[in-house]
């Protein structure tokens, strides 16, 4: 009656599938074209001719634009496929995609790990295939890919990659387009910003760990072809996204909304540049109202009261944040232009607008009481 530990384990933790009970070492087969560098370490290389639209000067210009966000040379686009998203020491990478320019080609190298037992060799090959002192371009690499790969180096008691820079495009994409596209997952960005549709052979990122686990069991890499494709596409998208982000930050866009957000991205780095972009966004048709507001505030700060006033009036006529705009105009008249009479008129008009949307009074209680105080004070001033 005494059961062995195994059957007790099954009792407690669940039964094993019968097919799992046998264990055999499987021959690796079905890998995409490439070569073994070491046992269980496999390299695929794909070369794309650089499209002629990309000219060298523009390329340099893009790097320069993004340099304060970490861009530099040599640009190395980098993306990992891993056994999970959990992080910590128990997650490892099995496919590293590396993209860089070499003469007239854009080269994508994919280094594949056929078994976790060869991780050390895989890591040391990874150091070989990445150009020295790379300036990485990643998507969420600051939080995920780079810490993860460095953890792997530490676990193998090796020195981590020495990088000369790291531009994580996720942060800029969020600033530029989050409000418009919602989810900033790379697939969503491709669809709505880069206008790319992946082929049907692509696999969703969330099933990749499961596919690799299957491969480890069967040795059949054909099931991973979608993962190789996915990784290659990620690198290509990263590359395209790099230019799209750079050009947008240069104001190279017809969309006032984008230009306005570009201005926002610059405002804590280069205020003049931000102002230029906002001005552009404000003059395009239809103008980006947010940009006009920010310009007005900047002008007020620089003591250009009349310029600020005219921008605010323009906004008021566009029905943009009527209450806030009226309050700002009132403030300008009261404190800067010393005209309490007109200031009172604007404050009272803000009150009228407030009352038009009664629920607002409750939702913005503090704004409302502040406004009441303002009107009261102005009435006393006017007498």
């Amino acid at each position: 009656m005494k059961g062995d530990k195994h059957s007790r384990l099954e009792q407690i933790l669940g039964e094993l599938k019968p097919e799992n009970k046998k264990k055999e070492i499987c021959e690796v087969r079905g890998l995409p074209p490439g070569q073994f560098l070491d046992e269980d370490v496999y390299l695929c290389e794909i070369r794309h001719e650089i499209p002629r639209e990309v000219d060298v000067n523009e390329h340099k210009q893009c790097i320069k634009t993004l340099s304060s966000w970490g861009a530099g040379e040599p640009l190395v686009f980098f993306d990992l496929e891993t056994t999970g998203l959990a992080g910590g020491t128990g997650t490892y990478a099995f496919l590293a995609g590396v993209g860089f320019y070499e003469k007239n080609d854009f080269v994508i190298r994919q280094l594949f790990l056929c078994s976790p037992r060869a991780e050390r060799a895989w890591l040391s090959r990874l150091l070989d295939i990445i150009p020295p002192k790379p300036a990485f371009v990643t998507y969420n690499g600051k939080n995920f890919d780079l810490p993860l790969i460095n953890t792997r180096f530490l676990l193998s008691r090796m020195k981590p990659i020495e990088e000369s820079g790291h531009l994580d495009l996720l942060h800029l994409v969020r600033r530029l387009w989050k409000r418009r596209i919602g989810s900033c997952a790379l697939s969503n960005v491709e669809r709505h910003i880069l206008y790319i549709d992946r082929k049907t052979e692509d696999v969703p990122g969330c099933i990749i760990p499961e596919l690799y686990k299957m491969f480890l069991k069967t040795g059949d890499a054909a099931a991973l072809s979608g993962v190789f494709y996915h990784n290659e596409m990620d690198i290509l998208s990263l590359c395209m996204l790099f230019y799209k982000v750079a050009l947008t930050l240069m104001g190279n866009s017809a969309d006032p909304f984008e230009i306005d957000r570009a201005g926002d991205a610059w405002c804590d780095r280069d205020l003049n540049r931000a102002n230029r972009l906002w001005r552009k966004a404000a003059t395009l048709e239809p103008p980006a109202k947010n940009a006009i507001w920010k310009l007005a505030m900047e002008n007020k700060k620089m003591n250009n009261y009349y310029e600020a006033l005219s921008l605010l009036m323009k906004l008021y006529n566009m029905d943009y944040k009527k209450i806030d705009v009226a309050v700002e105009i009132s403030k300008l008249y009261e404190h800067k232009l010393k005209d309490p009479q007109t200031a009172l008129m604007w404050a009272e008009s803000a009150i009228k607008d407030f009352l038009k949307y009664r629920p607002l009074v409750r939702a913005q209680q503090s704004k409302w009481t502040e406004l009441l105080k303002r009107v009261e004070r102005l009435r006393r001033k006017v007498g």
Binding site: L9, N20, G90, P116, T151, L155, E210
Partner: protein, 757 residues
């Protein structure tokens, strides 16, 4: 004002206790002891100077012994009562090692967050007097993210708790390279709290810690501190799986101390109802405070703290003494409030505090003259810690244990020798409980791949690793097992329970704002949170509206009722495997199934039964370990079926009450069950089972005790003053069935059938 003009000293005050209506069932005097000093240890002169500046010019013998051992890289466990300077036992070797080698690191593990803060202050007092920068920091759930990076790289002494070590440090060990490469000492304080499930987890966390250390090439020395338990060395060795030197002789000076047990008077002899222990406690404490005697009052729950505080203040008002002389002091008070209370106690601005037993865990409130303990705190070890709270180096002190009407309290009040006599209780752990073990093997494999022939602590994990790889959690390649799952195994695991399934309690009183207020582990759910149950949380009562057994959610609404609920469980027990047998005693693996059937509504304060309801819930089951005793049929036949079943109920109740005293566990940690006819043994049988899947060794403990349990049960029922059985001895049901006679008869049979062997 009168009371204040004729203040009595402690001796005179203790004499007045004779006038109380109840009975003083025991009065022991602990003799005074002179300090014994040891030779000053061979430590860095900077440290010696710092200690001297702090007024520490001599060290007690037990301190110097511990320090010498630790400096010689020997693992050591120090068993000392409160206020005997145990922190120096580890702070000195740790600081010394850092002064000798600035890259040296230490890890301090305390069972709770609150304690970490207090300990930090202690070590900083020393390091502040030293010129070399020594960085000490806490790393727990409250550490802000921007500080974490700094702690990882630069903290010489990292103070944390087992949960954080388990989930925040070990799975991310590459971020802690500096710590693990240079880890010289691991300090585990409050060792005695690592018993049962928690201790079994802790032992596995230490196995993981040691694996990570050896990966980085360090081999730390362990310094452990424990309150008095009977097997500190065994527990320490079970926990760290290495030889440990034991230091037990406390050589700090002690003044004379009196320990009394007070039993409030019987009000109804037949029903065994006694006068309120709460009122008696408040009365004694108020009298003491009014006489200017500094007093600490201990009670088990936070609710009782508030009640006692109210009663004592009322009494003080009646005695015309400033009611603000007494203050509450319990977990949940902010550190700042606590510091203020401590200061006021020292300056004499307040004379009394009322506290939960949270405080017994080494927090410094200075020394007081009197401890009044409301109700037996559950284990002899905590009782002595609370008693130890009263005691000064000069001038005598006293402690009074006020017995409540709970069965265990009554047992101790009437049989004080069980309390004062040698401590029979053991702290037990079962690190190889399969449920707990497997979870930690997973965590450890996540942290570092297992080599095929690698051990895990002193165990061989191969079979489990093999199973996990077939279960597709691990991948076996190149004679190593790699973590191969997209999950973080430490995430949903609680070190405080054996299974990871907890019900989340959600307060939906305000429908639009559901609020999570607590958790209940799955085995307790049928009793505590069946539909319509009354659930108490933070002094408020809630009613269970819905129990979602699939989503593991329990929805409750705040209600105001004057009753609580008590569910009846229909329990079945099946013996699956017999590990060992001795006479009529046995030990083995059992399957328990239970389903709650009805619940009673029981009025608060009076405990009257005021109604009942049916419970509709699915059956739940649990594999665990149980110890049993069979009754031979030839003896029980003479009793008759009815008296037999009544007697079995009575014995079950007695075991439930008394076994925790011997097993050093809570009432809820064991399950006692009886069957008039066990299908496997074809005999009446009583079982004591571990109430934890897989068991943590309590059934094994009961099996080791055997006759002791029966003797204790017999003494308890014999000495109970009731005539036919009462809630204190045979239980509420037993009382209604005149169970005393049959129970005693059965106990006699149990005794004699063993004697006949």
């Amino acid at each position: 004002m009168e009371a204040l003009m004729h203040k009595k000293n402690l001796t005179a005050f203790l004499k007045t206790l004779q006038l109380l209506p109840g009975e003083i069932t025991a009065c022991k005097t602990m003799p005074a002891q002179e300090a014994e000093f040891g030779p000053w240890p061979q430590i860095n002169p900077q440290l010696t100077n710092a200690l001297k500046e702090l007024g520490i010019k001599e060290l007690y013998l037990h301190q110097t012994k511990a320090i010498d051992m630790a400096l010689a890289k020997k693992n050591v466990v120090v068993v000392t009562p409160t206020a005997s300077g145990k922190t120096l036992c580890y702070n000195i070797p740790v600081i010394h090692s850092i002064l000798e080698n600035h890259s040296s690191r230490a890890l301090y593990i305390f069972p709770t967050k609150a304690l970490s803060q207090d300990q930090l202050a202690e070590i900083n007092a020393i390091t502040n007097k030293i010129d070399m920068p020594i960085s000490t920091c806490t790393y727990d759930g409250d550490t802000p993210p921007n500080i974490r990076t700094k702690v990882r790289a630069a903290g010489h002494v990292v103070v944390t708790n087992p949960d954080m070590l388990h989930i925040g440090i070990l799975p991310h060990h590459t971020k802690w390279i500096k710590l693990f490469e240079n880890l010289r000492y691991v300090v585990i304080d409050e060792l005695h709290t690592y018993k049962g499930v928690f201790g079994s987890h802790m032992s596995n966390v230490i196995r993981r810690l040691k694996r990570v250390c050896s990966f980085y090439g360090s081999n730390p020395t362990f310094i452990l501190c424990s309150a008095t338990i009977s097997n500190p060395a065994e527990l320490a060795e079970g926990l760290i799986e290495n030889h440990v030197e034991l230091i037990t002789n406390n050589s700090a000076p002690r003044a004379e101390k009196h320990v009394l047990i007070y039993n409030p008077p019987l009000i109804n002899k037949n029903l065994g109802i006694r006068a309120s222990s709460l009122a008696a406690t408040a009365d004694i404490a108020a009298q003491a405070i009014a006489n200017g005697i500094s007093t600490i009052v201990f009670t088990r729950s936070r609710l009782n703290v508030e009640l006692l505080l109210t009663y004592i203040r009322e009494n003080l008002k009646r005695l015309r003494v400033d009611e603000n002389l007494v203050s509450g002091y319990r977990g949940g008070y902010l550190p700042k409030e606590r510091r203020k209370i401590e200061k006021d106690l020292k300056s004499g601005k307040i004379l009394g505090v009322v506290s939960t037993n949270a405080l017994e865990l080494g927090i410094d409130i200075g020394s007081l003259s009197l401890a009044v303990i409301h109700g037996y705190p559950g284990s002899i070890s905590s009782a002595w810690q609370q008693i130890g709270r009263a005691g000064r180096r000069s001038g005598h002190s006293a402690a009074i244990l006020v017995a409540s009407s709970a069965p265990l309290d009554q047992f101790i009040a009437t049989k004080p020798n069980y309390f004062f006599g040698g401590s029979p209780e053991l702290a037990r752990i079962n690190p190889n409980n399969l449920y707990i073990y497997v979870d930690h093997v997973k965590c450890s494999a996540f942290e570092l791949p297992f080599a095929q022939d690698e051990s895990f602590g002193i165990t061989n994990p191969e079979e489990v690793l093999e199973y996990l790889s077939q279960y597709e959690v691990l991948h076996f390649a190149g004679s190593r097992y790699f973590w191969q799952s997209d999950s973080f195994p430490a995430q949903n695991m609680s070190l405080r329970s054996a299974t990871n399934e907890n019900y989340v309690i959600i307060d939906v009183t305000e429908g639009h704002k559901p609020r999570v207020i607590g958790e209940v582990d799955r085995p307790s759910a049928p009793m505590l949170i069946h539909p319509e149950a009354i659930y108490f949380h933070d002094g408020k009562s809630y009613q269970v509206i819905e129990l979602d057994t699939k989503g593991m959610r329990c929805y409750v609404k705040s209600v105001s009722v004057d009753y609580y609920t008590d569910a009846d469980l229909a329990t079945h027990l099946k013996v699956l495997d017999i590990f060992t047998e001795k006479g009529n005693w046995g030990l083995g693996e059992v399957l328990l199934t239970f389903r709650p059937t009805v619940y009673k509504k029981i009025k608060l304060m009076t405990h009257e039964n005021v109604g009942y309801g049916h419970i509709h819930m699915d059956e739940d089951e649990m594999h665990t370990t149980a110890c049993w005793i069979k009754l031979e049929k030839k003896f029980t036949d003479i009793l008759g079926e009815e008296r037999l079943s009544t007697g079995l109920l009575g014995i079950s109740h007695l075991f439930r009450a008394i076994a925790p005293l011997f097993l050093m566990c809570d009432r809820g940690d064991i399950r006692v069950h009886s069957m008039v006819r066990d299908p496997m043994f074809s005999a009446p049988t009583i079982y004591i089972a571990d109430n934890v899947p897989g068991g943590v060794g309590l059934a094994d403990g009961a099996f080791a005790l055997k006759e002791k349990l029966i003797d204790a049960a017999f003494e308890a029922i014999e000495s109970c003053p009731c005539s036919d059985g009462c809630p204190a001895c045979t239980g509420a049901f037993g009382a209604t069935m005149n169970a005393k006679g049959p129970t005693m008869a059965l106990l006699e049979i149990l005794r004699s059938q063993e004697d006949l062997k």
